[in-house]
Amino acid sequence: MRDEPVAEPVGDAIARRLGAVWRIEGARVIATLTSLTGDVGLAEDLAQEACAEALRVWPRDGVPSNPGAWLTAVAKRRAIDAWRRQDALAERYARIASTLRESKDVELEPIGDAVLRLLFIACHPVLSTPAQCALALTLIGGLSTEQVARLFLVPVSTMQQRIVRAKRTLSAAAVPFTAPDPHEWRERLTGVLRVVYLIFTEGYAPAKGADPVQRELADEALRLGRRLVAMVPREPEAHGLLALMLLQSSRFSARVALDGSPVLLADQDRGRWDRQAILRGRAALRRVDELGRGRGPYAVQAAIAEQHAIAPSVEATDWHRIVLLYEVLGRLAPSPVVELNRAVAVSMADGPVDALAIVDRLEAQGSLANSPLLPSVRGELLARLGRTDEARIAFARAIPLVGNAAQRAVLERKVRALDPRHPAG
């Protein structure tokens, strides 16, 4: 749209500048306002009003030299004005009025500490998982509601509601703007890491939609991961998560074929893997080890991704080592998905017979009943064993369980390829 060589209207340039400023400083502005008001929802409302004011004033007066402090000061003034207008009614404004009147200068909160507290609020256990993801991206990532809605493939109105409801929930629960207590620190940090990784996986392998990857979303998660590492550099799992995301993201370009369909690991052109991302991922994994407190579940998953990343081909991959790593992971964080992945690794290391036994055990337990993963893997193993009819049935069972169109098409191709009436697939 902006290809024509015409001068850009001043307002557009300012809006883009404000967007960039907000990306960089939005979290800090909201953190400062939350610290003043004690209410993250109110803080975000005030910040939005300040942004609207910036769009009016900056084209006329120019962009201030410290845009973040300007936005915070305007938001503060808005809070005071509102309080004066309706002091009898607005209790929540009254609560903050004294602190606002006392200080004239805007002191932005020290970045790391305040943004970390904001991240803990965004990922607070009183919120639903989708709300946690949305707040992490808007409050800390500096994305607009529209951007987050687009990345999660939901209507803007749905995302707006989700965010409004989340802010209300936080207000109702009177969640304090403090770091978690030492006794719950570990658990809360695990919650934050989980949210960041969920955002990443939703970009790496979207559960719905037509595209096999949503790279922008995964990039936002990576950015949150790097932020987190800077804020809690002594936490091995923060580095472990960053390592995992970097190593997985190295395969982004190779995961999608020219026609937009997903490419499986075995078929990927390893020359298209992003070597920089692999180097950075391995460096992050080394940092975990340097901290000397062992590897947690994210670091072990990163170590598995590392084995793939350094292997020249599927055949030359150290599958025995990967089996061992999955066993370690299964002890640290047991889950049917880990067990299923172990089965895949076992099939590569020792053949499909041993692997099928693991998968059948999972199925007998009723694990992963609504996931397409189990029948997909089972179909793969049966096909390798030459049990074509059973394989076709297994793949066909997986298809209705897949929400993503690109992934569904892969399975449909497999069913066709196994059909004796269409030998060419």
Partner: protein, 144 residues
């Protein structure tokens, strides 16, 4: 997200003037800038370069290549270091560049770093393929 390189450029006069300044104040200003990029999760690398008197320039404008020792005299601007940042878009790269604590006579050149997509048409090229291996070799060298 694209990666951008912010390249510090300064005239010799500006460089000489900076030597008169309190070196610790410069370290502190640059340190705060680096810290803000770390905390925002955008910094992915960077190096500073030693004094240009230690460097040299190879000029390819004539068949007999001319090698000139630093600080070169006729060269107006000197590269002094760089940052690598991974940011949402060009606008954000500009915004970070604006925040760099540099003074009169200095410039920041901002360039997007190429990635594998820039060479997609040459994926079969021998050297493009070799490069992957080289990067890994370099990593092991850097480690030891």
């Amino acid at each position: 997200m694209p990666t951008y390189m912010l390249i510090m450029r300064a005239t010799e006069a500006a460089l000489a003037a900076s030597k008169e300044q309190d070196f610790e104040a410069i370290i502190n200003a640059m340190g705060a800038y680096n810290e803000s990029m770390m905390e925002a999760g955008v910094m992915v690398g960077g190096e500073g370069l030693s004094d240009p008197s230690e460097g040299f320039v190879v000029d390819f404008s004539t068949p007999d290549l001319v090698v000139t020792d630093g600080p070169y005299g006729e060269v107006h601007e000197l590269f002094n270091g760089f940052w690598l940042i991974s940011v949402a878009d060009r606008d954000e790269a500009i915004e970070w560049a604006r925040r760099c604590p540099m003074g009169p006579g200095t410039k920041l050149e901002v360039r997007r770093v190429t990635d594998e997509s820039d060479f997609a048409d040459f994926a079969d090229n021998e050297y493009i393929q070799k490069e992957a291996g080289w990067r890994e070799e370099l990593e092991h060298k850097n480690e030891s």
